[in-house]
């Protein structure tokens, strides 16, 4: 079955990417997005209880990007992300129990409670780390791709960053080096319209961010990030190109942040928002759009959706119960893990 990307306010005219996929794959994309949505909603609901004592940057409305990106990758491929990392963590296959335990600051968390929401990590499924310094992690991903190339590995690296990261010099330095060395890395810019409260056009005269790659020798394109099938199609093509040795790629996925920049609430009435954007974002909710198309083209029924909802809710309940039952780290462990033991070099 072939999928045409939706057109919409965030889509680009003439976008041709199509993913070849089975019904199973179509369902998998939807279920991954559903999982992220329900997890984020659960986090927003429980936040006032103060069980999570750290900043949270939610991905509601942006699920299509993480899911379409990660499902185009193989298990040994690696991703690097940002403080807005819950979606990426879940999409790449990170364990839900370890996620909630991390948010609750428990020793069973994915970073033993040390990193919190902003520093998720799951190396067992290829999520190498999430950093809260804008753009800082981009060259790190390029370095991983360098290692892959030097070692003749098939491993491909994806770095996901926001539209704000394209402001930083280190973005350009990284793209240049990746182009120079033709490294197996895909730069994924998740353009959710804002860096905190500032629009792309407030920070760039040339606001088509994907074009910045071209001048450095990296092909770039812009796609609708709210169409998970289109995201997957675009990524599959980019992945194939990189694996064929065509060098790095840059993709800008257009989406929209529904919640406030940081925290559990919405801030739709704040002056930096355009009310029409909220309206459009609601209409192009990636989850609803995917559901509509799955109903249209496959035999997706209410029963099946209800079943998936139940599954997700059960997983979330179990993860929360696991996190709550887990111990906090022992304060005596404060100094652990600063350095790895170096090999002894005799005397």
């Amino acid at each position: 079955m072939r999928w045409k990307p939706t057109t919409g306010p965030f889509a680009v005219d003439g976008q041709e990417d199509e993913a070849q996929m089975t019904a199973e794959q179509g369902y998998a994309l939807y279920r991954a997005m559903l999982r992220i949505r329900r997890v984020e909603e659960a986090i927003a609901r429980m936040y006032p209880s103060d069980k999570i004592q750290s900043p949270v940057h939610l991905s509601i409305g942006q699920e299509g990007v993480s899911v379409g990106v990660c499902l185009a990758l193989g298990p040994t491929d690696r991703v690097y992300g940002t403080y807005r990392g819950h979606g990426l963590y879940i999409a790449k296959g990170g364990d839900l129990k370890k996620l909630f335990a991390e948010l609750f600051g428990r020793v069973t968390g994915c970073a033993k409670g040390r990193g919190g929401s902003m520093h998720l990590v799951a190396p067992e499924v290829g999520l190498m780390g999430c950093s809260a310094i804008v753009a800082g992690i981009i060259p790190v991903a390029v370095g991983d791709a360098l290692a892959s190339k030097v070692q003749g590995s098939q491993r491909l690296v994806v770095v996901v960053f926001g539209d704000g990261a394209v402001d930083e010099g280190v973005f350009f330095e990284s793209v240049n080096f990746a182009a120079l060395k033709q490294l197996p890395v895909i730069f994924v810019c998740e353009n959710n319209a804002y860096a905190i409260h500032s629009r792309v056009a407030d920070r760039h005269r040339q606001a088509e961010l994907f074009r910045y790659g071209e001048s450095l020798g990296v092909p770039g394109e812009r796609c609708n990030g709210n169409d998970v099938f289109g995201v997957l199609g675009t990524m599959e093509r980019a992945v194939a190109d990189v694996r064929r040795g065509c060098g790095p790629q840059l993709v800008e996925f257009m989406t929209y942040r529904w919640q406030e920049h940081v925290g559990p609430n919405t801030d739709h009435a704040e002056p930096y928002r355009d009310p029409r954007d909220i309206e459009r974002a609601r209409r192009f909710d990636p989850l609803n759009c995917a559901e509509g198309r799955l109903r249209e083209r496959l035999d997706l029924t209410d029963d099946r959706i209800a079943e998936w909802e139940t599954d997700v809710q059960r997983d979330i309940d179990e993860a929360i119960a696991f996190a709550e039952a887990s111990p906090f780290p022992d304060p005596a462990s404060l100094f652990e893990d600063l350095y790895e033991e170096a090999p002894s070099c005799g005397s």
């Binding site: 004592q53 750290s54 949270v56 902003m118 520093h119 402001d167 409260h197 925290g263 022992d330 304060p331």
Partner: protein
């Protein structure tokens, strides 16, 4: 005098400076948005216009250089960062250019730049949003450095920083923003190079800066219940530093505990301990003690975070230890802070 929050004191100083000097401009990420850097730049863009109050791209290195150039060009930029951790990206500009410009070019020009930045602590700020960069700036000659503790300091030092022809780094603290203090009705600049005695006492000197001065005062209250009088001395201005006030206090008490908002290694506490070792060694009745962040990466998890930071309880314990007192029953309530995230 009037009672205002630290945030409002900063705001009043900025407004007054902008009104009185048309070359003062405010730049930085989010300075013109509805959150207004925790309220400290509220409505300035409405009052002074977008050419004097403007958001920047997220490009700390480049923007710091732009601010330096703007200062050379005749403006007085106040460049604001909501977390000082982001300033690692700007260290090249600050330390290789701003700090050096005057001396490197034979004293012909100055760089009247003010950099304001905020230390994050509590609510799981974690590894990259909790650091305190004063010693980086102190280490390299050419920048003045201050950490305002009270609303009075914040207002007065921001005004004198703006009036200063040299680069000035003002390091604020997130946990101080809600605290209130008295300030003059008309904001007055207070000079750099003044250490403030926050509380007098004869038994031990607590040199503590920024939010640690607040914790040290709480510790002093607890200690006085045990008949121990601690003198709390706040080196608000770190460069230049008023050494005499610190030395006089140590000469009086003979005991010193330094409490800093950052790590102790090569930090403010190391500097002050060295100062006392060099200039008041004879008056010491006990070894100097230092408290700061524990020597590891700041963790998010609450019990670890609590063990990571110094607070009134650890200060009390350190003082009792120093005085050879066994007071294992001392209970110090955790700081009641109204700060509850999310940022």
């Amino acid at each position: 005098m009037r009672l205002v929050t630290y945030r409002d004191a900063l705001h009043a100083a900025l407004s007054q400076a902008m009104e009185e000097d048309p070359t003062v401009c405010v730049m930085g990420i989010g300075v013109d948005d509805h959150k207004a850097v925790f309220g400290s730049t509220k409505d300035l863009v409405k009052r002074f216009g977008p050419h004097r109050v403007f958001d920047t791209p997220i490009a700390e290195g480049g923007m710091t250089g732009v601010a330096i150039g703007a200062a050379l060009g005749g403006l007085k930029p106040v460049h604001i960062h909501i977390r000082c951790d982001f300033l690692y990206l700007a260290l090249d500009q600050l330390l290789n250019l701003a700090a050096k410009w005057r001396s490197m070019f034979g004293g012909q020009m100055s760089v009247p730049l003010v950099v304001r930045a905020v230390v994050g602590r509590s609510w799981g700020q974690g590894a990259q949003h909790s650091q305190s960069l004063q010693s980086f700036m102190m280490h390299v000659p050419g920048i003045k450095v201050a950490m305002p503790t009270t609303a009075y300091d914040a207002q007065g030092l921001l005004l004198s920083a703006i009036a200063d022809p040299n680069p000035v780094f003002l390091l604020e603290h997130r946990l101080l923003y809600e605290l209130t203090g008295e300030v003059p009705d008309y904001c007055r600049a207070i000079p750099f190079g003044k250490t403030v005695v926050r509380r007098e006492g004869d038994d031990v000197t607590l040199v503590a800066n920024s939010y640690m001065a607040v914790e040290a005062l709480r510790a002093a209250d607890v200690l006085s219940g045990y008949g121990i009088q601690a003198e709390v001395v706040d080196p608000v201005s770190l460069v230049p530093m008023d050494e005499a006030t610190i030395l006089n206090s140590v000469r009086k008490t003979g005991r010193l505990v330094v409490v800093d908002t950052s790590w102790v290694t090569c930090g403010v506490s190391a500097e002050i301990a060295a100062l006392v070792a060099e200039k008041a060694f004879d008056s010491l009745k006990a070894p100097v003690k230092r408290l700061g962040m524990q020597r590891t990466v700041c963790p998010v998890s609450k019990p670890l975070e609590r063990a990571f930071y110094p607070h009134a309880g650890t200060i009390v314990a350190e003082v009792l230890d120093l005085l050879g007192e066994q007071r294992l029953d001392v209970q110090v309530p955790e700081t009641a802070t109204s700060f509850k995230g999310p940022f």
